[in-house]
């Protein structure tokens, strides 16, 4: 490999590495957002439980 070939390959590797790091950062951020959504979903009262009709109490 000539010096020019080495440098050109390095230049393309730099571009690839920058894009890869950016995509990794975005993936980590999206993972964090997914965790936040789960956390919020756990805090929201369960609608199914509220809507389930309760059995009428027996009188007498």
């Amino acid at each position: 490999m000539t010096t020019a070939e080495k440098y050109v390959t390095a230049a393309y590797c730099v571009v690839f590495a920058v894009v890869l790091v950016y995509v990794l950062i975005m993936a980590l951020k999206l993972q964090r957002l997914e965790r936040d959504v789960e956390e919020l979903a756990a805090r929201v009262p369960d609608e199914d439980a509220e809507e389930t009709p309760q059995e009428p109490a027996r009188v007498g």
Binding site: T2, T3, A4, E5, Y7, V8, A10, A11, Y12, V14, V15, V18, V19, Y22, V23, M26, K29, L30, L33, D36, V37, L40, R43, V44
Partner: protein
């Protein structure tokens, strides 16, 4: 207007980047004067034009924010500028590598075209310092929009600086009579340019989607508190 789905964009950018790489290394011939090192320019020039396009997109969205008070425009302008900085960093890195091959130095401070691109880059770096020094709200959005609009003035200056290069010869890819090359070199450049533009748009959509989701989650958390 119906938007292209993100997975389709991601696949398109992957295919275009792979095709561009095949053309750069296996189809395009060696340049007669610059030799093998000229192959850096397929991505270096495409990255530079993509960075300019991102900064122009940032200015356009800033203008939309100031003119029409579009609530989405501020975030879109911010993401455009962020993409421009990422592509600008790649321009500086690939340019430095080419300078090392051709001029024997990583950086030449006496060259206007290098310094002006660095000034443009640092100007947009300062955009983030300004943005994050002000509390979120209309004031921050207005200040950021005005700053992004001013930045766009530096783009023609940076572009013209390549034509004013004095000491060293910075290759001129485009002249007033069109591109300075033809045949497979032009085809390869066009594919590389399309690949970089689609890649930038894909990353823009990805980041914008994440930011919007983050903002909605913050609002929901506040509503639940």
């Amino acid at each position: 207007m119906r938007r292209i789905p993100l997975p389709a964009l991601a696949v398109s950018s992957l295919v275009l980047v792979a095709t561009a790489l095949v053309f750069v290394f296996y189809v395009a011939p060696n340049d007669q004067t610059l030799g093998f090192s000229q192959r850096i320019f397929y991505f270096h020039v495409s990255l530079a034009f993509t960075a300019y396009a991102c900064f122009i997109g940032g200015a356009w969205n800033a203008f939309r924010h100031l003119w029409k008070r579009d609530p989405r425009a501020d975030l879109e302008s911010y993401v455009c500028v962020h993409q421009g900085l990422i592509f600008g960093a790649m321009v500086l890195l690939t340019g430095s590598i080419w300078a090392k091959i051709s001029w024997g130095r990583w950086w030449v401070w006496s060259e206007d075209e290098l310094v002006l691109f660095l000034v443009l880059y640092l100007f947009y770096c300062a955009y983030f310092m300004l943005r994050f020094s002000v509390d979120p709200g209309p004031q921050r959005a207005n200040l950021s929009a005005v700053y992004a609009l001013f930045g766009v003035i530096l783009i023609p200056v940076s572009f013209a600086a390549i034509r004013l290069a004095k000491e060293f010869l910075h290759p001129r890819v485009f002249t007033l009579h069109g591109p300075n090359f033809g045949g497979w070199i032009l085809v390869t450049y066009c594919i590389a340019q399309a690949a970089m533009l689609v890649l930038a748009y894909t990353l823009y959509r990805l980041e914008l989607g994440g930011k919007r989701l983050d903002a909605r989650l913050r609002d929901l958390r506040e509503a639940l508190a």
